[in-house]
C-alpha cells in the first residue's frame, strides 16, 4: 500500500484561527494509508518545506498532501519541494483549507470537520495519481504574422530583428494598413506616412522577413511550436521583378473603379498601384475590374509594358509554410455605413467618415491636402464633427467605446482649422476620453488655441436643405436645441473587427469576444495571448486601440512568440486524456466534443494527440463506457473524493 504523508499548515492564524489544525492532522493520521501526519505554522517557509523533505526521506513517503492555501498559490512551491526530495511532482496534492474553508467559516468545529473532508479528498486523489513527466515537443523556429498594418509590421520587425524568420501575410496588394491612409497622428501631429514608410521599407529589405502580399491564410493545422499554414497567393498578373514602375499601364487602362485607398473619394484603374510608396512597389491587376483575361478582352496594359512585366497567365498559388508561433494582427474596419442611415452617410456626398477626412487632409490625398467638399470642391466653412457614431450605443449599434475617436476628432478639428483659418469646427460629443500621454493637453489645445467648439450632446438628424447640411442636435450643457447649417459633416464611426476576422478566428480556433474582436486569454494578465497556445494577438484585432497601444501590443506579442521560438523544445502539461482501447467502441462522440481537435479515430479506436490535449475532460464525461479519461483526475479518483467528501 502506498505511504502517504499529510502536512497541515496553520498559516499563522489564517487557518489555525478557525480550523483545529492539530485535530485535522490527528484525524488524517488515522486515515488508511497515511503514515505521517503533522502540522506546522508556515508550511511554505523554509523550515516548513524541510519538514516535508525530511518526512519524505525518513518515512519513505510515496506521496504527500499539503493542507494549506489555494493550489493557485503554492502548488508549484510544494511540488518542487517534493521533487527535491525525490518524488514525482504529481505525487504532491494541495488540500485548499484556507480560501475554501478557514476564511469563509466561523464555527471551529464545523470548519474543522470540513477541513478534514477536504484533506482526505486530496489524499484519495494523490494516492491514485500517476507519476508523469512533461510532454516534450520540438519547435519550428519561425513565425507567421497575419496582417501588414502597423501592428503586424512591428511584430514582424521585432521578431526578425531578434533573429527569427518571419512570414508576413497581407491580404491587400501593399502593407501599411489603415495607418498609411492617415494624414497626421495625434498628439504630436507627425505625418503618418513619414513615420510608417521607413518601417515598411525595412520590412521589404529585411533578410529575415518573407513578405507575402495579396495573400490570405487558408488553413492552419498543427499546434504550438509546430503549425502548418496554407497561404493562398492571389495572382497580381504583374511580375514585380520586371516592373519598372513607369506607370504606362495605368495610362492606357480604360477602366475606372472606386479607389479603396481614398475610400471612394477618387477612382483608380483596373491595373493600379495602391499608393506611391506601396510595398512591394509594383502594380496589381484587379481581376474583378479588368474587362477580362479569359479570353483577353483588352490587353492594352500588356501592349505598352516595355519590360514585359504583365503576365496574364499568372495562377493562384498555395504556399505551405511551417511555423512555431502565430501573431494575428488582422486590424479593424469602420462600422458599416449602411447601418448609420440616420446620419445620411452614403446619401450625402459631404457627409464623410473619419478615414475619408484623413484622406482629405493628407498631402498625398485626392485634394493634395486642401480641405474641399467632395460635392463641389469648395472650401467648407462650417464643419460638424460627430463622435460616438455607432459606438457606445448598446440598443442600436456597438455597445463599446471605440477609444480613438475622441482624440482623432480633436485632431481633425484642429487640422481643419489649420487649413481653413476662418472656418468653424463644431464637435458633438458624449464625453471626452483623453487618457494617454499628452492627450488631454492636445484636446485643450484644440479648444484654446484653435477655437474648436465642443457641444455636449447627440445629433438627432442630418438632412440636406438648400445646399447646406442641416444638423439637428442638442447641447445638454446649455439645455437647448442646436441647428447648424453645415458645409460638411465628419462622422467618427465605430471601430469594428475586420470583416475577415471571424473567418480567420475559425481557422485559427481563436475565440471571439461578444463584439467580434479576437478574445485574449485573460483580460488583464494575458492580454496578448489568445486562448490557443502559440497564437498571439496584436493591434485593433483584439480591441479598439490607437497607434502607440497597437505598437506596444505588437512588441508584446513578438516577445511572447520569442519565448516559444527561442526554446529548443517546449513542454506541455502531461495531465492529458488517455484511452482504454479495450473499452473504446470508436463511436467518436469524444472526437466531436474535444475543443482542441486532439482526438481522432484510427482503426475504430480513439487516439489522443497529447500535444493538443489540454486535459479538460469533456471527452471523459461524454464517453458512455469510461474508455477515455484524463490522467490524474480520473472518474475513479473523483468517485473516491466524493466518498470521503460525504464522510464515507
Amino acid at each position: 500500500m502506498k505511504r502517504t504523508g499529510v502536512f497541515v499548515c496553520h498559516c499563522g492564524i489564517n487557518i489555525a484561527g478557525t480550523v483545529d489544525v492539530k485535530r485535522v492532522a490527528k484525524e488524517l493520521s488515522k486515515h488508511s494509508g497515511v503514515v505521517h501526519s503533522e502540522d506546522y505554522v508556515y508550511m511554505c517557509s523554509d523550515p516548513g518545506q524541510n519538514l516535508i523533505i525530511d518526512a519524505i526521506k525518513e518515512k519513505k513517503l510515496d506521496n504527500v498532501v499539503i493542507a494549506c492555501c489555494s493550489p493557485t498559490l503554492h502548488e508549484t512551491t510544494f511540488r518542487n519541494t517534493s521533487e527535491s526530495a525525490g518524488l514525482n511532482k504529481f505525487q504532491c496534492e494541495i488540500a485548499n483549507i484556507r480560501e475554501q474553508c478557514s476564511w469563509v467559516h466561523k464555527d471551529m468545529d464545523k470548519a474543522t470537520e470540513k477541513a478534514i473532508k477536504i484533506t482526505k479528498s486530496a489524499v484519495e486523489k494523490v494516492r491514485r495519481n500517476e507519476s508523469l513527466e512533461p510532454i516534450s515537443i520540438p519547435v519550428t523556429r519561425r513565425a507567421l504574422v497575419i496582417g501588414g498594418g502597423i501592428a503586424g509590421i512591428q511584430s514582424a520587425l521585432d521578431l526578425a530583428n531578434t533573429g527569427f524568420e518571419v512570414i508576413l501575410v497581407e491580404r491587400e496588394p501593399s502593407i501599411g494598413g489603415h495607418m498609411i491612409q492617415l494624414s497626421e497622428t495625434f498628439p504630436t501631429l507627425d505625418c503618418s506616412q513619414c513615420i510608417l514608410t521607413p518601417k515598411m521599407v525595412e520590412v521589404s529589405k529585411h533578410p529575415n522577413i518573407k513578405l507575402m502580399t495579396y495573400s490570405e491564410v487558408q488553413e492552419i493545422s498543427g499546434y504550438v511550436g509546430n503549425f502548418i499554414v496554407k497561404i493562398l497567393k492571389k495572382p497580381t498578373y504583374v511580375d514585380a521583378d520586371k516592373c519598372t514602375l513607369c506607370d504606362e499601364c495605368t495610362k492606357v487602362c480604360p477602366v475606372v473603379v472606386s479607389n479603396e485607398f481614398d475610400l471612394g473619394l477618387t477612382g483608380r484603374r483596373a491595373i493600379y498601384i495602391p499608393f506611391p510608396q506601396a510595398i512591394p512597389a509594383t502594380y496589381t491587376l484587379d481581376i474583378s475590374a479588368c474587362p477580362g483575361l479569359l479570353p483577353i478582352a483588352c490587353g492594352k496594359c500588356a501592349d505598352v509594358c516595355e519590360p514585359g512585366a504583365i503576365d496574364f497567365d499568372m495562377k493562384p498559388k498555395i504556399v505551405e509554410e511551417e511555423v512555431g508561433a502565430i501573431i494575428v494582427a488582422s486590424g479593424f474596419d469602420l462600422y458599416e455605413k449602411e447601418l448609420m442611415g440616420e446620419y445620411g452617410y452614403g446619401k450625402y456626398p459631404d457627409v464623410l467618415d473619419g478615414l475619408q477626412f484623413e484622406r482629405l487632409l493628407s498631402a498625398s490625398g485626392p485634394t493634395m491636402g486642401k480641405v474641399l467638399r467632395p460635392s463641389d470642391r469648395k472650401e467648407p466653412k462650417e464643419v460638424v464633427f460627430i463622435q460616438c457614431v455607432g459606438s457606445r450605443d448598446p440598443e442600436l449599434h456597438c455597445p463599446y467605446c471605440s477609444k480613438i475617436c475622441c482624440m482623432y476628432t480633436a485632431k481633425h478639428a484642429m487640422l481643419y482649422k489649420h487649413h481653413v483659418h476662418d472656418g468653424q469646427a463644431y464637435i458633438f460629443y458624449i464625453d471626452i476620453r483623453s487618457g494617454g500621454k499628452g492627450y488631454e493637453e492636445f484636446v485643450q489645445r484644440a479648444v484654446e488655441e484653435d477655437g474648436v467648439l465642443y457641444l455636449r450632446g447627440k445629433v438627432s438628424k442630418i438632412f440636406e436643405e438648400k445646399g447646406k447640411i442641416k444638423v439637428w442636435g442638442v447641447d445638454t450643457l446649455a439645455g437647448k436645441d442646436i441647428e447648424i447649417d453645415a458645409d460638411m459633416v465628419v462622422l467618427a464611426m465605430a471601430m469594428r473587427p475586420s470583416k475577415e476576422a471571424e473567418e480567420l478566428a475559425k481557422k485559427l480556433k481563436i475565440a471571439l469576444d461578444k463584439d467580434g474582436f479576437l478574445a485574449e486569454a485573460h483580460p488583464k494578465l494575458r492580454p496578448v495571448e489568445s486562448v490557443s497556445s502559440g497564437m498571439f494577438l496584436a493591434g485593433a484585432a483584439q480591441a479598439p486601440k490607437d497607434i502607440p497601444e497597437a505598437v506596444a501590443q505588437a512588441s508584446g506579442a513578438a516577445s511572447k512568440a520569442v519565448a516559444i521560438l527561442s526554446q529548443e523544445r517546449l513542454s506541455h502539461a502531461p495531465t492529458v486524456a488517455k484511452v482504454n482501447v479495450n473499452l473504446c467502441s470508436g463511436c467518436g462522440m469524444c472526437v466531436l466534443v474535444c475543443p482542441y481537435d486532439a482526438l481522432s479515430l484510427k482503426d475504430g479506436k480513439v487516439e489522443v494527440n497529447e500535444v493538443l490535449c489540454e486535459g479538460c475532460g469533456s471527452c471523459s464525461a461524454t464517453c458512455l463506457r469510461a474508455a477515455i479519461q484524463v490522467k490524474n483526475l480520473t472518474p475513479l479518483q473523483v468517485n473516491e473524493m466524493i466518498k470521503v467528501s460525504l464522510g464515507g
Binding site: 469563509v104 479528498s121 480556433k509 461524454t622 483526475l633
Partner: protein
C-alpha cells in the same frame, strides 16, 4: 432540542472560474455555511452524470455543479456540453421524484465570490426543510 439538520453537499467546481470564484470568496473573507465540500475538476464539461448519481448514492443531500459563464469557458466550450448534460440529469432526477432543490447548477466566474457565497447560502437554506436525502442513498 434535537440538533438542526445540516445537509451534506458536494460541489463540483471547475478549476478556472468557479473554484477561483470560491477562492475569491475566501480572500474577501465572505462567510457561508460549511455544509459544502468542494471538489475541483478541470471543467464543468468533465462532470459525468455518474458523479452526480454517485454523490446522491453516497448520501449527499444536495449536489452543485458550477462552471464558467457561457462564452468564458477556459476550454472554449466545455460548459456548453455541461449545460446540456446537466439539464438532462436534472430533468431525469426530477422525474423520478427527487426534490428538484437537491440538484443545482450555477455559473460562477472567478470574479463572483459574492455570487458563490449567496448560492451556497441559498442552497443550504433550501435543503434544510427537506431533511436528509434517503431516496438514492445507499443503505446496505
Amino acid at each position: 432540542m434535537a440538533e438542526e439538520f445540516e445537509p451534506k453537499i458536494v460541489a463540483f467546481l471547475c478549476k478556472w472560474c468557479s473554484s477561483a470564484g470560491s477562492d475569491l470568496a475566501g480572500v474577501s473573507r465572505m462567510e457561508y455555511p460549511s455544509n459544502v465540500v468542494p471538489i475541483t475538476v478541470m471543467c464543468s464539461g468533465s462532470i459525468s452524470p455518474l458523479y452526480i448519481f454517485s454523490a446522491f448514492n453516497r448520501g449527499a443531500d444536495g449536489v452543485l455543479v458550477s462552471g464558467c459563464h457561457p462564452g468564458d469557458c477556459h476550454y472554449i466550450k466545455g460548459n456548453f456540453y455541461a449545460r446540456r448534460r446537466i439539464a438532462l440529469v436534472k430533468k431525469l432526477l426530477d422525474y423520478i421524484g427527487l426534490e428538484p432543490q437537491r440538484f443545482q447548477m450555477s455559473w460562477v466566474s472567478a470574479a463572483e465570490g459574492k455570487k458563490y457565497t449567496q448560492i451556497i447560502k441559498d442552497f443550504v437554506k433550501e435543503l434544510k426543510p427537506l431533511g436528509p436525502q434517503t431516496k438514492l442513498r445507499r443503505n446496505l
